[in-house]
């Protein structure tokens, strides 16, 4: 266990932003913090590096309190925030050199690490270019490079894929994997479960400052994902009637919602998936609904997150 979070609670002006949160992060893993905007992810990450002292509880880094050993521990942590913490008027090399010096690195180490991190984030060709002239994705990679410059044991990435297009997100995901492969423990936050699910070894779901769920994706799915999701599209699309009719027909409906002119039904994994589909196709005829499309999904972590953290 690298980090142990012990019952931390943080309040800002009577608003409890973190409420009795406890979990641990292992060395070398990619740990995801997931939660909606305002769930307390960033506050938690900042508490992790000792910036926000909790009202109660503690965070232990290799058994030492972060808040009592902040300066020492900060040397071992790299942090890339939602906004790129880089100087746009400095070149990539100058940015890296500056932050390296702030971390007390020697010239030789700065030189070596500059080369290393630029190779890692694949920006070697842009060494002397001004950061402000890079694309958004490149800036994000430079930001991560800056966070990696002093070879931290832990890299904290606050929503690393926010604002990036799918291709860039893929690049960042690959980069995160590469960094982990170098032995760095990575803690990242996001409000898109589908983005961090393939990356993370374990995740902690935050809901209004409380820990809603915690574990590996498989563990979470096993624990919470005991339903199917059936997506129906029909004409004229009187989905309320459909739900009523299916309930009268004896189908257990755990949950439902209409989204993008589609009906999403959550049903227990009591029957085989094709049995559900067949029954629903048949049931629509009496109520004069013409089926335009039907899809049955095994419940993903994303949906699980939605169910756990959103509702």
């Amino acid at each position: 266990m690298l980090i142990e979070i012990k019952n931390i609670t943080k309040t800002f002006e009577k608003n409890k932003v973190l409420n009795d949160i406890s979990f641990s992060i292992n060395k070398g893993e990619i740990f995801g913090i997931i939660g909606q905007s305002g769930a307390g992810k960033t506050v938690f990450l900042k508490a992790l590096i000792g910036f926000y002292k909790p009202d109660s509880g503690d965070i232990l880094f290799e058994g030492k309190s972060v808040f009592k050993n902040q300066k020492e521990i900060m040397k071992t942590i790299g942090f890339a925030s939602q906004r790129h913490s880089i100087y746009l008027d400095l070149s990539l090399k100058e940015n890296l050199k500056y932050f390296g010096r702030l971390y007390g690195m020697k010239s030789k180490d700065i030189k070596e690490n500059t080369k290393r991190v630029l190779e890692l984030v694949e920006l070697t060709d842009y060494t002397h270019k001004l950061a402000g002239k890079l694309s958004g994705g490149m800036q994000r990679r430079l930001d991560i490079a800056c966070a990696m410059m002093h070879s931290p044991k832990i890299l904290i990435l606050d929503e690393p894929e926010a604002g990036l297009d799918p291709v860039l997100r893929k690049h960042i995901a690959e980069l995160i994997q590469k960094i982990r492969n170098e032995g760095t423990t990575i803690i990242l936050s996001s409000h898109f479960m589908n983005e961090i699910e393939p990356l993370c070894d374990r995740v902690a779901m935050l809901k209004q400052g409380t820990l809603a769920a915690y574990g590996s994706p498989m563990e979470l799915l096993a624990k919470y994902a005991d339903n199917y999701e059936i997506v129906i599209r029909s004409y004229p699309g009187n989905y309320k009637n459909i739900i009523e009719w299916l309930k009268k027909s004896g189908i257990t409906i755990i949950g439902s919602k209409v989204e993008s002119n589609r009906l999403l039904l959550y049903v227990p994994q009591k029957y085989a998936p094709d049995a559900y589909v067949e029954y629903i196709v048949k049931s629509l005829k009496p109520i004069k609904e013409t089926l335009m499309g039907i899809q049955l999904n095994q419940l993903s972590l994303d949906i699980l997150f939605e169910r756990i953290a959103v509702k």
């Binding site: 900042k46 590096i49 910036f51 926000y52 906004r83 913490s85 008027d89 400095l90 702030l102 800056c146």
Partner: protein, 577 residues
Amino acid sequence: MMNKLFAIIEKDVRQLVHSKSSALIILISPIVLMILAGLALSSSGLSGVKVGVFLGADPAALGEGNIGSVLDAKMAEKGFSVQYFSNLNKCKQSVKDETTHICVEVAEKADTNLAKIDPRLMYQVNFYVDYSKVRLVWAIVNAIRTIVAQENTKISTEITTKLSDKINFAVNEITKNQGKLDEIIRKGEGIRNTFSSGIRTLNEMSSYISETRTISGSVIETSDSISTNLNDLLSYSSDARRRLSDLSRLNPALASSISAIQGNLDSIDGFANNIATVNNGLEEKARRLDSRLDEISMNQNNVASSLTNAEPLLDDLLDSLREVKSGIDKLEREFAWARNIKATDIMNPIPVEVLPLSGEVTEVGSVSSALTYLDYLLPALVILVIMFVATLISSTMVIKERKSVAYFRNLIAPTNSSLYVVGVYLIGLILVGMQATLLVLVASFFFGVIISSYLSIALVLLLTISIFVLLGVIIGYLFNSEETTMMGAISLALVCLLFSALIIPLETMPGVMRAVAQFSPFVIAETALRKIMIFGIPIINREAGTIMMEPVKLAVIAAVLFAGALVLQNFKNKKEI
């Protein structure tokens, strides 16, 4: 620690270097400012001013050397653009239309007698101005009034010189003729004496005349007696002759004797007749003498009477002459002081000369030549530039850093946060120091401003820059946006400017404001720099055992501000995290 500090400084410098426009502004702005200030302050400042002139209906009547032509020439010298109008209303209208800045009328005076003294005295100058442009108006009015005053002085000096010459001439003439008057009086007195002796002589002549008259009377009497005796003699002779004739007849013998006697008698008769003739002549002359004496006596009486009458007149004349003499003597004494007086002494009886104090001090500074207006203004100008540039640069650097996306990474780095304040302070010090150096060098080399005591100046500038950089740092941490920070920095600089002697003399400010202004770093720094640059006063005077207090005050303020900046930065960082 030092490595981190240098990293912060190097980062800021590199950011500046990469942003060429910022670098250019920082390096060029003081030179541009100094050149602009130098050019603005080294010119008379009114070239290009448009002056409307109305010389009356008939400008030719003014004659040569009139105030109109003098104005024309002098205004052209000053670079004024002069436009003549044939009508006063048009001239006034041109000011309203802003085609001219002032209308100057050369008007004729009503008193024509003045023309006898000097034809130039016949004119007066009227200004028609738009008081809404009060500063420009006063500048132009002062410039033209100076021209008119110069001409007034010239005319006045000429007339006074003429008057003085006349007085000198009169006094000289009086002095010269004083001797003649003395001589006249002297001669008059001689005449008076002669008169007196003449009267006395005339009086004496009366007795002579009367004596002569007595003598002539006795001559006449004697003559009458001689005449009587001669008649008697002739009668006796005739009687004797008869008797002889008788005798001769009686005694013819005696005829020859008788004839001889008769002959003798003839001779006696002849003598008697001759004597009678002479006697008659004598008597006549005696009578004529008598008659003449009468005339003389009459004339003598007349002359004596005239002289007697003339005597008091002569006395009066002499008295008058003496009075005139006394008056002239008095006049001479009264005008004696005016004899060698100069016209300029009358024109400017109490000469006022404004002497530069700085010229007296040479032992410490190397002030040797006359200081220019720019020399006197330079301390305030340097502090002004430092104040604006330092507060703006440091506050902008702080707020830019705070608002920078990279700021967060600085906060999480294991670096003492006070290093960032020190970094901004040092970079501000370097940049503004460079600017101040450039400013002083440009002033020294291009505008010939005399700079002395470089070390003392450097120390004061260092403290001043520190204060304003730290004020800028505080403002940068106090406000939360670039706009409000900029406003804050400019407002602070303006307040400092308002509470300085640059706009309103401190001495004329209300008591409270004056007291507050004494603590203004602008005032303290400007005072220190003025003492060093203009008066050459050293910061530490070992001989006198004194120390200039202003740099000490500046150092204290800088230290307080530094501590304040650290406290504020710490507080803000905690809040922002």
